[in-house]
Symmetry: C2
Subunit: 144 residues, 2 copies
C-alpha cells in the first residue's frame, strides 16, 4: 500500500509516517518514481511505535530498541536488553506515579461531590443540575 492508505489505516498522519522513516523507525520500499510502498505488516509496527511514544520514549530510544524487537541478533540483543530493562523500569515508575495521581484526583472529586451535596442539603438555591445519584458509596468504585 502507499503512504496515504497506511495513514488512513493507522490513524497516523502522512507527515508523521515520513518523520518515522526519517528517524529510522520505519522502512519502506520505493517504487521507481520514488513513492513509498509498505507491506501490511508495517501497520502493526506503526501501532507499536505510537505506543512507545505514548510511553514517553523518544525517537532515538525507539530507534535503538526496534531492531531488537524485530529481529534479535548478537549485534543488538546484549546492549539493547539492558536498555529495554531500563526503559521498563522508567515506565513502571511512571505508571506508579500516574496511579498515585489518579488516586489524588479521585479524592479531589469526592471532595467536590461532597461539597455539592452539602449545598443541596443546606439550602435549596444552588445551580440545580443535580442528577442526584447515589453518592454515599465513596469514589473507589469508578474502576474505569
Amino acid at each position: 500500500m502507499r503512504i496515504g492508505e497506511l495513514a488512513a489505516r493507522t490513524g497516523v498522519s502522512v507527515r508523521s509516517l515520513r518523520y518515522y522513516e526519517e528517524q529510522g523507525l520505519l522502512a519502506s520500499s520505493r517504487s521507481a518514481s520514488g513513492q513509498r510502498h509498505y507491506t501490511d505488516a508495517v501497520a502493526e509496527r506503526v501501532a507499536l511505535i505510537q505506543r512507545l511514544y505514548a510511553a514517553g520514549l523518544s525517537s532515538r530510544t525507539i530507534a535503538e530498541l526496534l531492531p531488537c524487537v524485530e529481529s534479535p541478533s548478537e549485534e543488538n540483543s546484549d546492549a539493547s536488553l539492558l536498555r529495554m530493562e531500563e526503559e521498563r523500569e522508567r515506565l513502571s515508575r511512571h505508571i506508579a506515579e500516574l496511579l498515585d495521581t489518579r488516586d489524588t484526583l479521585d479524592q479531589v472529586i469526592a471532595g467536590a461531590r461532597a461539597y455539592r451535596e452539602s449545598l443541596v442539603a443546606g439550602s435549596g438555591s444552588g445551580s440545580g443540575s443535580g442528577a442526584g445519584a447515589g453518592v454515599g458509596a465513596g469514589a473507589k468504585t469508578a474502576g474505569r
Copy 2:
C-alpha cells in the same frame, strides 16, 4: 520563604515556579520591593502541580481545576466536577495503555533473553557477558 528556598524544597526550578505563577497555578504575596514570599503550604501545591503535569494535563487545564481543589464553591464545583471526571477518564485510559505497552515490552525482553540463551546453548562464541541466571521461568516475575 522566598522563591529560592521553595525551589530547593520542591526540586522545581526557580524559572518554573515563576512560570506557574504566570499561568495562574500558584499565588505569592509580594514584599514591598516586589519579592515573592510563600507560605509552607505551597510546597504541597507545587508537588500536586508537578503530578498533574506528569499526568499529561496542560497548564490551562490545571489552572481550571486547581481552584476547585483548594476551595470548592458554587462557582467552580459544578463545571469543574465534569472537567475532573473527564480528565480522570483520560488518565485511566492512558494508564491502561501504558500497562499494555509494558506487557509488550516484557514480551520483547523475554524474547531477547530467550534468544541470547539459545546462543549460549548453540555455540560457545557469542559476546560472553552471560551471567547465566535462571531463565526458564518466564518474564512475568519482574514486578517492578
